[in-house]
């Protein structure tokens, strides 16, 4: 029973190093995330935030260290990686909905093909999720007919349809018009309140302050700050994070 670790850690990164050629993108990253925690990841552009998320669900391989999800090593999962990924939802900056499928089909595809749900059950699940993200009337639309905010909510529903243990968000609101950011953040806030474990790369510090348990600050492939929001904003230790906080506060 690999999943039956006695500690509450759902995600563990142990001195993870990731290089692209000579470029060291993650430099000995240690990070543990407990079940039910919502963690915001912030940091300058190019610091390795996306790469860290992608190493957690194995979209990128790592060069050194280990990544464990629910007690199982992601790095050495081999073909088992597919089953692990099915337990981690991921939401992308560019939504990445399947343009040739309807909203409903986008959501039912994974549950039917990966988890073997019947079409009926998958549809029922998708319908519920669409209600939950507030757009039940869009089931039969194609992604291109939706606003950015609606597309991102569908993308969240698509990920949730797999009933994941962990949700990874990579700048989910960065590609959105300002008036649509709220509707997506609201869905994410509700998720966090319901106890979903989530890692959110975002610059939305209002969201971070209100919703998350910890803020992790990455600079140049290293975690330089890891603290609850209050502490992060008031007792910032590193210079880079200070700079970052100052910018946000005076924004």
């Amino acid at each position: 029973m690999a999943g039956a670790t006695t500690n509450g850690h759902l995600v563990e990164l142990e001195s993870v190093t990731k290089r692209f050629g000579d470029n060291v993108v993650l430099d000995g990253v240690d990070l543990t995330i407990d079940r039910g925690q919502a963690v915001v990841v912030a940091g300058p552009s190019g610091s390795g935030k996306s790469t860290m998320l992608r190493c957690i669900n194995g979209l990128e391989t790592i060069d050194e260290g280990d990544v464990r999800f629910d007690g199982t090593s992601v790095a050495s999962a081999g073909k088992g990686i597919y089953a692990l990924r099915a337990e981690m939802g991921m939401v992308f900056q560019q939504f990445n909905l399947f343009p040739h499928k309807t909203v409903l089909q986008n959501i039912t595809l994974g549950p039917m093909q990966v988890k073997g749900l019947s079409e009926e059950d998958a549809k029922a699940r998708a319908t519920k999720l669409l209600e939950r993200v507030g757009i039940p009337e869009k089931a039969k639309s194609f992604p291109a007919d939706l606003s950015g905010g609606q597309q991102q909510r569908v993308a969240i529903a698509r990920a949730l349809a797999m009933e994941p243990k962990l949700m990874l968000f990579d700048e989910p609101t960065s590609a959105l018009d300002p008036e649509m950011i709220r509707e997506v953040l609201d869905v994410m806030r509700d998720l966090a309140r319901e106890g979903m474990t989530m890692i959110v790369v975002t610059h939305e510090m209002g969201f971070a302050r209100e919703v998350c348990d910890r803020i992790v600050f990455i600079d140049d492939g290293k975690i330089v700050e890891d603290a609850p929001p209050n502490e992060f904003f008031t007792q910032t230790k590193s210079d880079r994070a200070k700079e970052f906080v100052d910018k946000i506060i005076h924004h």
């Binding site: 990924r85 399947f98 994974g110 990966v114």
Partner: protein, 218 residues
């Protein structure tokens, strides 16, 4: 003008039978080209290098030998245990030959599908193979419908080589026969041209129709 109708009237059954042989050649070649082509494209975009190489070798071979040579090999050149009928050998040759081009067209369509689509599919727990099958190829095929249409029109025209090469009584061979019988060369080949046009113009319509029906709205 009277001569044209006269030839058509007298040889109508011949023309029709040639037309249907051509249609059969084109139909079988299409099925072969499409299925082999998609597999070749899949090979060429698989991460495994040696699988890529198989696909690449196929494309290089079949694009670089003349169709006529390929037809001769398939009919006259194979060991007697695998003797194909003339029509089968002809359709197989044309299909395998066209598959190389289909493979390249579909491959370019695959590359046109963004990495984000692949990431999204993998993140749902799909294997690389299922990602290709359920997410990438359906989109790739849609974007390559126009170039595929051109390929299959070219294939229809290329099918005219088969008759002469393998003594198959297709539209082209029938026209040759009629022209030899009557010395009315213009008339005979005029009606052959009409027959080919019938197929290629219908193909154009099918392509347009598919294009509008399957278009991905972005």
């Amino acid at each position: 003008m009277g001569e044209f109708w006269g030839v058509l009237e007298r040889y109508f059954p011949e023309f029709v039978s040639g037309f249907f042989v051509t249609l059969r050649l084109v139909g079988i070649s299409f099925a072969i080209a499409m299925s082999v082509g998609v597999v070749i494209a899949a090979f060429r975009v698989t991460p495994a290098k040696w699988v890529q190489r198989i696909g690449g070798t196929y494309v290089e071979i079949f694009r670089n030998i003349p169709l006529l040579v390929l037809l001769f090999i398939l009919f006259y050149g194979l060991p007697s245990e695998v003797q194909f009928s003339r029509v089968t050998a002809g359709a197989l040759g044309l299909g395998l030959y066209t598959a190389a081009y289909v493979g390249e067209a579909v491959r370019s369509g695959v590359f046109a599908v963004g990495q984000g689509q692949i990431d999204a599919s993998l993140s749902l727990g799909f294997s690389y193979r299922d990602t290709l099958r359920r997410v990438v190829l359906p989109q790739a095929v849609r974007t390559v419908i126009p170039p595929l249409g051109s390929l299959f029109i070219a294939m229809t025209k290329n099918s005219a080589v088969i008759g002469g090469a393998l003594q198959v009584q297709d539209l082209m061979m029938k026209a040759r026969g009629i022209s030899a019988d009557t010395f009315q060369t213009n008339e005979a080949f005029f009606w052959a041209a009409v027959g080919y046009l019938l197929i290629t113009v219908s193909l154009t319509f099918v392509v347009r129709n598919l294009e509008t029906r399957l278009a991905i709205r972005r």
